[in-house]
Symmetry: C2
Subunit: 125 residues, 2 copies
Amino acid sequence: MVDHKALASDAALNLVFAALSDPVRRQLLSRLDGEAFLVKELAAPFDISLQAVSKHIQVLVKAGLVRQERTGRVSRCRLDAGPMHEAALWVNRYSKYWQDQFDTLALFLGDIDKPKARRKPRRKS
Amino acid sequence: MVDHKALASDAALNLVFAALSDPVRRQLLSRLDGEAFLVKELAAPFDISLQAVSKHIQVLVKAGLVRQERTGRVSRCRLDAGPMHEAALWVNRYSKYWQDQFDTLALFLGDIDKPKARRKPRRKS
DNA sequence: CTCTCGATCAACCATTTGATTGACTGTCAA
DNA sequence: TTGACAGTCAATCAAATGGTTGATCGAGAG
């Protein structure tokens, strides 16, 4: 659940959030949700060069959000939402909306075992 | 899939995700969760200059994640998680884990009306 | 074989970013 | 009034970013 036991490494979150901070890359991820695409297909809607899109994809690959599988001369790109999950873990701690959803869900699942681990466990200094 | 509402403006997401891509700023937000701090207090744990921290805070302010309230010579900073919620909305679309959780929740909410006292056996909202 | 095409590599350039130091504004206290 | 202190502003700098163009590599197609 939200017990953030394995707090994603800072370096990983740096890369993921940085990758998400560009609208072109977010659009690429949107397209890749569910379907795989070639680089040229991904580049088509954009007004920038193919090389620029290729570099954007490399950024996503480095962040672990996209996996590339080269067969022949083409390179099929597919989404890997794993690292996105780490980012979601981090960000959802601050989103009261989702927090409430979690609580309600936990209630339904009878998982009221959890003490007040709702908010972050950090204690003030 | 789950097309939530219209996505937040690209520009806003750019700023939020970019703000979150720096570990210093993420740490600042962590400290500010629940409690308000002065700039100097926020800067204390870091090994960088007060000016650098001040600039980081400005980045957070520009992203709408922090509000600053200057009284006298001090500047009290408090968290505003609103924009974080937009980021969470975006990111959670890709997190199969949460997706499944919420689907389960929706299932519960759909079948059994509501917790506490189930007054009506079945009612869709 | 040659030619084209998908994709990356390699320079290069302008802008942004994260940090520094030094000067400055203001407020509170002595 | 003097001075310490919180905080920002300003100039500077190195490194990272996002884009370009041109060259290159590697399959397929003719």
